[in-house]
Symmetry: C2
Subunit: 321 residues, 2 copies
């Protein structure tokens, strides 16, 4: 099955798919300068927290490889923590491989919670384009589909940046998984009238009590799921846990450009008025039926279950060290 | 204060503001042929159930005025229920005046329920552009604002047709009422974190038990309002009551073109995938705190309160007859 490759390390350089131009055009760039990578991240050529992490690692590797530093000492003083160039490249490749393994593990744990057949829903794009693997939330759907579950995916478009319409719809379409694209204000109607068996989304950050920050719109989908007795799940790697944050009230919400609300792909769709653009919202843990991670499945009470998974992760890392 | 005129009967013909081009351009057409009016309604030059009613009445009046029927008998056989041409024109003007009076009355009843200051929210466009008067839901906000209430209106853009972004934002901006435009998936976030005092929307059809069909997205706003203890109101004329329908389960939902979901103002925003476009949804009465009409305010149990208002209306009509 087709899995989108948002980023790849090649002999020619770092190859990145331009996600801003999807689905209209499938264009890739080859970067050989770390400053180009930084620019690509800023301009959202690549997106999704895990994929951005991969890009940043590859960018540092490029920077070291092509550094203009006159001496190794000069380079070492710039990047004192890096032992050698080849090691950094390997590290970047390794990060990518680990992301892939993480996604596949999340997918296997989560797939068990998907219905045998019928509709499921996701939000934004927590797919291959966002992670560099098979995706987190979309990875769950993908594994379940490959297991033979007859799923049909409802995809809210996810304004203002349209990650659902542009990226998730494109990934599912490419992967041969049936879908129906809807606008964000149709979610409630389909949960009330349709037979939706499960909802699964990604996460940007998960607090110690299970409150989850994710793309704007996630909170209201979770509320509508509860009201209509549809289980709402989060699929995310343990690295998104932030157990130093007690609850969602302490997660700051990034405010992005209001121009993305008043304009769509450069076309003005509203008069010159004030607009708001909180990029994320916080879904309280009480709306979350379970959290799928690469180490297993967390359930309420999350304070205990998340800590147990986080410690399992640390033991794993310690045994590798 | 500026009140948009979506349609007007003039000596030159029926003048209609092209709502599809708002807010980018303010263009009006003058129609002298009823077939042009029919086409304008089909193509959504004008929208909103009350305004479409006004347009239809004016269209019939034009048709009679400019009929090519060779004889009055021929015309009468076409339109046997019409007594004379001038009467029809007067009737069309009268319908328009009544719509205006209706809106103003709804506005006065509903304004009492608006907060003295702070944020309120609406949905879609139930404003002057939709009714030909001051609007229903926006009429409530307008009257409250004119009473000196310091309101700030949160306006969800209302995909796919963007009536909120294009029309409601434009009307409020023109009227000097402060607003913030948001995308439809931000509604929950603002209800949870903001201090929203009330929500008021229009209605397409209200069943005997109070279940209300309105623009897609209304249902989920009502659920999110309940979850966050924000009162959710409907503002609509008694003519939207359909007491022959026992409940919302019997209201058919119109499915419109999926192309409006996959495209935005002619620009493709999604790959060539299946998309759904239910134009309306049904909000169960249990989410509705009150219904503002031109005859007064209905509260639960709606079966009794709606019937009482409907009968009041009939008595009023009988006393006029």
């Amino acid at each position: 099955m087709y899995v989108a490759q948002p980023i790849e390390w090649t002999d020619r350089g770092v190859v990145m798919l331009d996600q801003r131009r999807l689905p209209a055009e499938e264009i890739s760039y080859t970067y050989t300068d770390y400053r180009e990578i930084a620019k690509a991240i800023r301009e959202m050529v690549i997106r999704g927290a895990p994929a951005i992490g991969v890009a940043a690692a590859m960018g540092v590797a490029l920077g070291v490889l092509h550094s203009a530093a006159k001496s190794v000492d000069a380079l070492r003083s710039e990047l004192s923590e890096i032992c050698d160039k080849q090691g950094m490249v390997e590290e970047a490749k390794q990060v990518h491989l680990e992301k892939k393994a993480t996604d596949e593990s999340i997918g296997r744990f989560g797939a068990e919670f998907m219905p045998r057949e019928g509709q499921v829903m996701t939000q934004c794009n927590a797919g291959a384009l966002a992670t560099g693997g098979i995706g987190t939330a979309l990875g769950v759907i993908r594994v379940a589909f490959e297991q033979g579950r007859k799923l049909h995916v409802l995809v809210p478009e996810t304004r203002p940046y349209l990650q659902g319409a542009r990226l998730t719809a494109w990934e599912l379409h490419k992967g041969g998984i049936p879908l129906t694209l809807i606008t964000d204000n149709m979610v409630g109607h389909f949960l009330k009238t349709g037979k939706v068996g499960a909802i699964v989304t990604g996460a940007d950050r998960i607090a110690a009590n299970g409150d989850t920050a994710n793309k704007i719109g996630t909170y209201q989908i979770a509320v509508l799921a509860k009201e209509n007795s549809v289980p709402f799940y989060i699929a995310a790697p343990v690295s998104t846990f932030d157990l130093s944050i007690p609850d969602g009230g302490h997660i700051p919400i990034e405010e992005r450009s209001a121009g993305e609300v008043t304009h769509l792909q450069g076309v003005r769709i509203a008069p010159d008025v004030h607009a708001a653009h909180p990029a994320f919202d916080v879904t309280p843990a009480k709306y979350i039926a379970a959290i799928f991670t690469e180490r297993g499945v967390a359930r309420a009470p999350y304070k205990e279950s998340l800590r147990a998974l986080a410690e399992m992760s640390q033991q794993h890392l310690a045994s590798r060290g």
